[in-house]
């Protein structure tokens, strides 16, 4: 009786359990907000509530991973339940949890409104999760905006600091600009295919209303997503925003929103605009976006790495490095686009998710150390400030070195497995363009050695002339560091289980196409 009654009230095809992980995170955000308004002085509990929410959501995700329902869609096809969603959502939860732990020092040092910060972080995470699970352009856009608005505020949380204000302002204006592009692109694609649902779009690209409209729409979406993942030529905002934003927020932005944008980007392009042999409109579309992304990947890697060499600020260096890493991830993305729908494509998509996981763990670890060393207003973030601290703060210096080596992609670290996995699909395709792309990526990795090593050189090979007080490592940050160090080695050496999990099943749209 009861179920019957519910079915009458709600629109058909509801499936609350399937979006429970998202709901838990959003709910945690609301609880934090409410709690904070009653106990504004309590600086610990809001973090704990958020962490609890993230853990519960993670457990829910993990249980969903083992059920056989993978590949289904619900909510009238608006929510996809596949490995693309699960893998990326897992990354977001980890990113959020680590960001909370890393922020413990910073919120104390700068007297940040803790409750607001944690609530914003939760909403951002909710947005990211929606972006990964949305199988509909509208859902993806909603997720993106939820994420973006929260991140704009987070970038400017340090109200007294001009640089932080500038960062937030820049991020807001350019971000809105990019969102507008994305939205317009979505509208045009809707016009061309008659649907916002990606499954239907994939069916309809074969025979669009106006092929030109589809191409223009796709192009505008490339601009919008390209901005969000920070690829050249849509990267100009990145260095300023990353440098100005507080270090933990920068770490979050480099790992979380970038991964979220990749999740939607892949879903829309790889699954929504597939290659269908013999049909001119869709194959032309496929070819166009593949070429555009290849050019973007090559530019991102090359310009990101070359510019990173010239930086004197560690945060700015990592900003350019994140542009380069977006380029590496694009290599796997393009490989996924070239792969045959089915297992090979799922594995390729999983490789990007895995890459973002390795990048997130490593990068957040690096930002943990940086935000501890940075002091108030991130004053201490120049390369010179790291001079000769190697044996004066051995724990911090060695862990930071480890993260640098992982970003560089040295074996036994997470970065290496990530690189191997994203290069694989591109080489599997066996076409010349993709092989050239991998060679460019590889040469770029060698270039990147210069600036990653530079930090190690500065810390260990130079002598310190000014005084240095070894900072105490607070518990929260120590936990984040431990997660990062263990994660880097675990993903680098024992990653078999995770890779298998990530690339386990068939993705929604691909499965239906076959």
């Amino acid at each position: 009786m009861n179920t019957f009654f519910l079915a009458e009230l709600l629109p058909p095809d509801t499936n609350i359990p399937i979006i429970l992980p998202e709901l838990v995170v959003a709910f945690a955000g609301i609880v934090v907000m409410v709690y904070d308004s009653f106990f504004p002085k309590d600086r610990v509990t809001s973090g704990l509530i958020s962490l609890l929410g993230l853990v519960v959501s993670g457990v829910l995700l993990a249980t969903m991973w083992s059920v056989e329902t993978l590949g289904a869609t619900s909510w009238n096809g608006m929510i996809a339940h596949d490995n693309l969603r699960l893998g990326f959502s897992f990354v977001f939860l980890l990113v959020s949890a680590m960001t909370i732990l890393i922020s413990t020092v910073w919120v104390e040092r700068e007297d940040v409104p803790v409750g607001e910060y944690h609530a914003l972080l939760m909403f951002a995470t909710f947005g990211m999760m929606l972006m990964a699970s949305g199988n509909d352009l509208v859902i993806i856009f909603l997720g993106l905006e939820t994420l973006s608005i929260a991140t704009y505020v987070m970038a400017g949380l340090r109200r007294g600091d001009l640089k932080s204000n500038e960062s937030a302002m820049k991020y807001f204006i350019l971000g809105s600009f990019a969102s507008a592009f994305l939205l317009y692109g979505m509208a045009l694609v809707y016009g061309a295919t008659g649907s916002t649902n990606l499954t239907q779009i994939a069916d309809n690209v074969v025979n669009p209303n106006f092929p030109a409209l589809l191409l223009i729409g796709g192009g505008m979406m490339v601009v919008g997503f390209g901005f969000k993942v920070a690829t050249v030529p849509f990267h100009i905002w990145t260095p300023d925003v990353y440098e100005g934003a507080p270090a933990p927020v920068t770490g979050f932005m480099a790992a979380g929103p970038k991964a979220a944008a990749f999740a939607s980007f892949i879903r829309v392009f790889v699954l929504g605009f597939p290659f269908i042999a013999g049909v001119s409109a869709s194959s032309y579309l496929h070819e166009s976006w593949m070429t555009a992304l290849t050019v973007m990947a090559i530019l991102s890697m090359t310009i990101g790495n070359l510019a990173a060499i010239m930086q004197n600020n560690v945060k700015r260096m990592l900003a350019y490095s994140s542009i380069a890493h977006a380029g590496y991830a694009l290599v796997g993305f393009i490989g996924a686009g070239a792969a045959k729908p089915g297992q090979a494509q799922d594995a390729a998509i999983a490789s990007v998710a895995f890459y973002m996981l390795t990048y997130a763990v490593t990068n957040l670890g690096a930002f943990a150390v940086i935000s501890l060393l940075a002091q108030k207003n991130d004053r201490r973030a120049e390369f010179e400030d790291y001079n000769g601290i190697g044996f004066k703060s051995p724990v911090l210096a060695f862990t930071l070195s480890l993260f640098m080596l992982s970003l560089l992609g040295l074996p036994l670290t997470a970065g290496f497995m990530g690189k191997v996995l994203v290069f694989r699909p591109a080489l599997e395709a066996g076409n010349t363009l993709l092989t050239v792309l991998v060679v460019v990526a590889v040469v770029n990795t060698a270039i990147s050695a210069y600036y990653y090593l530079r930090l190690i050189v500065v810390m260990f090979f130079r002598e310190r002339t000014t005084e240095w007080i070894d900072p105490k490592i607070p518990v929260g940050l120590a936990a984040a560091l431990l997660i990062a160090v263990v994660g880097v080695f675990y993903l680098g050496i024992f990653s078999n289980g995770i890779i298998e999990k990530f690339s386990q099943s068939r993705s929604t749209v691909g499965a239906q196409l076959r």
Partner: protein
């Protein structure tokens, strides 16, 4: 005992790594820096003794030709296995590594004042990685160790090196990383090439070899271009490591700036990774491309031999001189390998060991004098034979071994390489000229140059009267230093008079590679050439 022989190679790799952790833990709890060198020395010595068990050749796997094989799935999602094993080619290189390590540890007895914990930890990590390179049979695992060996060396040069250490360390890292990253791309591509012909992709070297024997995988016909590109990607990584002219520029910097132990290990072991890799992977996997590019490698090797010698001649710094002599010596190794004759290839392997022993010893000796005078400028010395007779004697013998004086080890290797090149047919033979003869003769001049630069340096450093007052009161070698150099001296003489045990152990494996590279087309052996080449190498020169 059974456990040890079953997991011998894993133990050899892991013992130093665990030891490195042990060194750090020891320091954290007991804080006795003076214990560290003993601890490290014991560990490396034990590892050396364990590595001698390799000579028992137990558990030979008939199928693959590798001993002490171990094959455990590592990341099955991408089908890569922890697959290790040794054969005649890698056997001596592993033992060379474990043999050099205790010596280089003792060489640092008084030299490392700064941060000994990290120093010994990195030294041990380096040992683990180096052994890993020589024993891995899975290409991805090989790459992993190949890259992993960079990091400890980078720190060793960067923290404990000389004046210009930062430049040298970064240059060393980036040069090597660039080459090896291209190899990584090639390794992954090879996986899919194999998947294309066989259905299943693999990183496993033994499986790849098997597919080639069965004729499934062959870089001829449509795959010829792919084979050439893959060959070049592998070859670049190894050529930088060797280093082959013109990729050698990192070497003089790295060798000169590294601390003594670092230079010894660099010369004795790290350079061999390049020649080992060429022989193991390039020759076996890409025989066609190897033959096609052999003339290029031979020309570069000869340029390296002559150029290295000429540049060594004019160096004002003893250590830099020895460093450039490495370029010349490694040129010989390349030459021997690319002659594709049994003589040449066995000679190349033998010369790898010789170079490890002699050049390692030379770096040690340079280290001794540097510890006393804190300079290595040739012009600062003169007449040292008067104050340090033992040192002078040992130095001259070592230099002679490096030059290739008969009855010392260098002679055997160089002789075999020359004979191999002479008999080779890899460079064309025209009506008027046999270019193989020309190559041999050009390389032969390198031996003369080697005598010139080493003897001239010895003359300026050791003979004549003591010109510099600072040298008048130098102490001769201590017992520790003599004990350190004695095993190397013994080997120089032993390997010079009785090379048979070394060559015998390596013969089968090297010959197998030679057969593959010369005749392979689906494992078929061209019988006419096979019989011609059958004369065992030992008889040929005894």
């Amino acid at each position: 005992m059974n456990f040890i022989t079953e997991n011998l190679l894993t133990i050899l790799v892991l013992l130093p790594v665990i030891g490195a952790v042990g060194v750090i833990v020891h320091q954290m709890f007991w804080q006795q820096e003076s214990h560290l060198k003993w601890l490290t020395f014991t560990l490396t010595l034990v590892n050396f003794l364990i590595s001698l068990l390799l000579l028992t050749n137990q558990g030979k796997a008939a199928a693959s030709g590798f001993f002490f094989e171990k094959n455990v799935p590592w990341i099955s999602a991408i089908n890569t296995n922890y697959h290790v094993g040794v054969d005649g080619l890698s056997l001596w290189l592993v033992i060379l590594t474990t043999f050099i390590m205790p010596i280089s540890v003792v060489s640092t007895w008084h030299a490392v004042e700064k941060r000994p914990v990290a120093f010994y930890a990195f030294l041990l990590l380096l040992e683990g990685a180096m052994i890993g390179v020589f024993v891995s049979l899975d290409l991805l695992v090989f790459y992993l160790f190949f890259e992993a060996s960079l990091v400890p060396m980078f720190f060793l040069i960067g923290i404990w090196g000389g004046e210009n250490r930062i430049y040298a360390a970064v240059k060393f890292f980036i040069f090597t990383a660039l080459g090896s990253l291209l190899m990584l791309a090639a390794i992954i591509a090879l996986y899919y090439v194999h998947a294309g012909v066989n259905g299943v992709g693999t990183f496993d070297f033994v499986v790849l070899m098997k597919s080639m024997e069965l004729g499934q995988l062959s870089f001829t016909g449509p795959l010829a271009t792919t084979g050439t590109l893959l060959f070049l990607a592998f070859a670049l990584a190894f050529a930088i490591k060797v280093p082959l002219f013109p990729f050698h520029t990192w070497l003089p910097d790295a060798h000169t700036e590294a601390p003594t132990a670092g230079s010894v290990i660099l010369a004795a072991v790290l350079l061999k990774m390049g020649t080992y890799g060429l022989m193991r992977f390039n020759f076996t996997l890409f025989p066609e491309a190897s033959r096609e590019f052999a003339p290029l490698f031979i020309i570069l090797a000869i340029i390296g031999i002559i150029y290295g010698a000429l540049v060594a001649m004019v160096q004002p710094d003893v250590k830099r001189l020895v460093a450039y002599s490495s370029v010349a010596h490694m040129g010989f190794v390349i030459l021997g390998m690319f002659s594709f004759t049994e003589w040449g290839m066995q000679g190349a392997l033998y010369q790898m060991l010789n170079h490890g022993v002699s050049t390692g010893a030379l770096f040690l000796l340079v280290g001794f004098i540097y510890e006393r005078r804190h300079t290595r400028e040739i012009s600062e010395f003169g007449g040292l034979a008067n104050v340090m007779p033992i040192y002078a004697t040992i130095f001259v013998i070592t230099a002679m071994s490096s030059v290739g004086l008969p009855f010392l080890n260098g002679f055997v290797g160089e002789f075999l390489i020359m004979v191999g090149m002479w008999k080779s047919t890899i460079l064309g033979i025209t009506a008027s000229t046999n270019w193989n003869y020309v190559a041999t003769m050009l390389a032969g001049t390198g031996v003369i140059f080697a005598a010139v630069y080493l003897l001239w340096m010895i003359q300026r450093v050791f003979f004549g009267t003591v010109t510099n007052d600072k040298n008048k009161k130098l102490a001769d070698l201590s017992w520790r230093e003599i004990g350190l150099i004695a095993p190397l001296m013994f080997l120089m003489v032993f390997m010079g008079v009785y090379p048979r045990p070394f060559l015998d152990a390596a013969k089968d494996s090297v010959n197998a590679i030679q057969k593959r590279v010369m005749h392979q087309a689906g494992g078929e052996v061209d019988h006419a050439t096979a019989t011609e080449n059958k004369t065992p190498v030992i008889e040929s020169h005894e």
